[in-house]
Symmetry: D3
Subunit: 236 residues, 6 copies
């Protein structure tokens, strides 16, 4: 109940990207790529500040039944938009734009297979890809300082059958009475807290239990991230 599913991070899964990682939380698999470009969007030019943005999407057959592609429908779906924005906010909480200098990093999180927790796997992996992209910039002397103020990890928690649970798979998630995503910094503080009653409203006590569970899960992920960053030579 309070255990993470098996988590693996395969850094540098891509040959071209400045940072990349294949994140697996159980059967959920997300490919995260960090792309660096020198320069920033027009409206930010001359500010001395960098820019980090993020896009989330899912392959059509990541799920049990196939979904149509947004591109074919000619528009980005609401859920896709919502999660892209969440990932962006989560990363902005740990970035010093002055230290990044006028560089842009785009984080693409593409879900190859979905089994619950795709948004939290995306955020947790995005930190690793971002970290490698920053190292790539550092190696080229393109930074004005240290742009990473800390690390970030995220996990889903929920109430299933009245019991608080950590890291829900799809089957658990679809029957959860409360569904919550916790994004924490490496220091254990909150960057984002977002919980929804799927059935009846929940009280303060249940909320507290979920927060406890989520903070503990994030702490564990922070440890795994650190191990992943030390255990492998970073992309040259």
């Amino acid at each position: 109940m309070d255990e993470l599913r098996p988590v693996t991070f395969t850094r540098n899964w891509l040959d071209h990207a400045e940072g990349s990682v294949l994140v697996e939380f159980g059967r959920t698999r997300v490919l995260v790529a960090a792309s660096v470009t020198e320069g920033v969007p027009r409206w930010r030019k001359g500010s001395g500040l960098g820019w980090v943005t993020s896009e989330y999407d899912m392959l059509p057959r990541a799920t049990n039944t196939r979904n149509d592609r947004d591109a074919r429908k000619g528009r980005v779906g609401g859920r896709t938009h919502e999660i892209s924005r969440l990932i962006g906010r989560s990363l902005r909480g740990i970035i010093d734009y002055s230290a990044l200098g006028e560089n842009t990093i785009v984080i693409d999180c593409d879900v190859l297979q979905a089994d619950g927790g795709t948004r939290t796997a995306s955020i947790t992996g995005a930190y690793l890809a971002l970290s490698d992209a920053v190292a790539w910039l550092r190696g080229r002397g393109l930074l004005a300082g240290e742009p990473l103020l800390g690390s970030v990890a995220a996990i889903s928690v929920g109430i299933v059958g009245g019991v608080p649970m950590l890291d829900l798979c799809y089957e658990e998630d679809s029957t959860a009475e409360v569904d919550m995503n916790i994004v924490c910094s490496g220091t254990g503080d909150f960057i984002e807290v977002q919980g929804t009653a799927e059935g009846k409203p929940f009280d303060r006590d249940l909320l507290n239990q979920l927060l406890d569970l989520g903070q503990a899960g994030c702490a564990e992920l922070t440890g795994l991230q650190a191990a992943a960053l030390h255990g492998e030579v970073q992309k040259q």
Copy 2:
């Protein structure tokens, strides 16, 4: 700091809609309309269940500087999508779809003027418009039971200059270190909790202060909603 801005609800602001209200939280003004249609979307036919959905949008000059219309750009923006979904989730928490029968209610929240808190004003007003639309259905004998399991209200809270504050206006919101939206049922339980660190991550203690403030604010709004529902004859 812990006070709501002046709140007014003008029910039946529209002549055609089955439920409508002009909600004002300080200078924020949102026109909420509830539209009833008999029948449900195709995928729900024959289920005996009703459907409630919600759309949020903002007039181009609701804000300090003019924004282009989504329709002209040919796509719905991410923020618009995100808030529409939040409103929908908040209402679904208090609805019994069986009791609603195979009827559809669409809630349109259009921001006429924005000064912070447009999403929480929308949710709070949406409850009133929904309530009037349900009364309209009841008056026509179209319900299978009582579809409203309770009421819902929402308020924004945040940390500004290190101090927790209730019901932030735009100026306060744009300098807030933490920005949070609390959606509560009339019984004081949580339907949605969503908080973001705009600057540095926040700790559990600050989170608790914000939750206290938000629950109190929602309770006050619940009282104002009840008064509005009793103080005016509902739309026939």
Copy 3:
């Protein structure tokens, strides 16, 4: 038959816009906002000329039954396009672009409730919002002269049951045999004349009666506009 419905103009209905008015023609309510920006679109830069443009739209539940939003459909509807262009043409007839200098004014006409005559209410209100926006520019010394060459007002006329009528509400309009919109300058000349046979074609004599009625209606609106401009302190 030859009477306007009750007409009210509430200037400065919005706090942010440089000019704004809530126009009511009977139960038709249009919120008009004029937004000023210094500078002109790229293709007009360096010409010394200003630019005025206009957009019209309708809230989904302005009408008896709800309409889907253009933004959700990903395209602007034909009727919306047609009316936006009409409003733009009507205003351009009274503007001296040299005197406006390189400033842009965007007029947004959003129909909050529709009961016939939304396009003519929009034009009539647009003149007031434009006038206030010009005053705002004048107060800041940003004008090269007097950009308003005159005033403009508009009214609908039609043949209902064989009888010429002024200012049709929706019910009258939907049964009209001829439907016409007259846009006049304050001097009583024509800026736009647009009439359509909804049923059988109409002859020159009926056309003349409609033109008489429309010119008289516009003259009355011109008086009401002048009163509105004098009766209230303009936006500072």
Copy 4:
């Protein structure tokens, strides 16, 4: 000044369409195709009524300089929408939907070369293509009666250099002070009148001169249409 440019109608320009004509007003060339399908749109089924609709578009190099295609921009432009709607209204004025039975006719007007008056050439040609499509239906015994209540023709008039002129070419049109389109039935009555002051507002006297000119021009076109319908065997 009061003369039409050379007008030619080449009926049956296309091999597949049930009705088609290449219309030329001077150097303006419009290809009009009428497509018949049995049945009507879903919302009209079972009504016993037919349906006629119309679309207007322009090839990218119809004009002096090339315009981008709407399809590439992903949206229909405002001018295209406006003219499509005008053509539709003009035709609906002469159609008896009961007599048409549950058949649909789509009129496509595609401007191959533009030199002023493309909308009036489209309407004038649309009558011929529609007439041939109706004959095609009649030949197959698919009509419930005579769906054409009369004929329709259209011409542009304007004030150029203070002088009223008939059938303006592009160069004349672009300097016109007043620009007007007159749509008349074969009996000389009005189906649509639409005039705009491009410069200063115009008075009733000028309007009357333009109406005289337009009615005379339409009468002449009515004669040319009749000749075209008799001079050539209709499409079998």
Copy 5:
């Protein structure tokens, strides 16, 4: 079986375009326009190189039954995209961008009537329109050299009822077992070869027969193109 349908080229069919031709292959009719603009797209500025691009489209009633317009659907169809790209590739094979200088030529191929072979008629006509547009540039001294390295022509071939055939009309094409398009330079070499088994896979021997037939057809078209270029005074 190895004969072209009647082919006609009517150069300068349009008055405005720098190059234009109405191409007819049997009942297939394509209007090709070449539009010249000085300058190149932003990403090519300062390179000293010109740019040639191409767009293909079809009028809604070019075919037996009417097709909806891409612009109304808000997107370009796959077939339209594919053919536009094919035309572009075919022309790029004979152009020297340095000699063209920083000029852009856009080739628009619009199918007025379709009876098979619209893409090959488009390519064959595009060479003539391009050639006239180049002559127009040459006449104004805007070229840095001779941009046309040769000519290009295209023809369709196929296997119908087991027999190789040249220049298939729609009825033949729709029953063909193999469908192939051959694009050749004036020297008889290949610029593009594209063949598809519509039914069962085809062997090398059949492929060779189709290639023979296609090369012969292209050679004949090359002769007709040369005659067209000499037989008419080019556009001044």
Copy 6:
């Protein structure tokens, strides 16, 4: 020059899809998923025939520099459309729709990393995913016969520096004078042949060399496909 890059097929890479394979041609990696649904699109209902369709896309950072997502631009790009259609045509060449019964199979080919030959890797992998999806249907007794008439494989060939080469990587492809894709059935016959001169036109002799090379490459891939199908237990 005449050697394939290392080719690997990882079948059942996904847990949900009825057929799936991760295809690698050198550094090119494509994830192919086959999704089965009972029933066919509306226009095919009651025909007794099945349906197979295909979509191709590329992750934004599959390439050296990041590309924007089609979904964000609101439209499918021309290249994406072209390749999706090619894959569809290639598969249709080996399918017996009657034997498939009224079932639909959608093949999604998503390029995770691109290094040349993504369309041929997609087709080659699509055969394996399709084959597994057919086995899945067979296992459930949902087939009316054997829908696969044979196998299909595809490879790119080209002329680089005057020398014919097999299976070009991106660097080779971008400097190729001729670029060709060969799609063959398992019996060595052609399903699609598509070659383009990137520089100067190519003669029949070079074309023959490329066809030889391509047929040999496809034969080798056919062998590898067979091994992959036998070497692993198919998805249950």
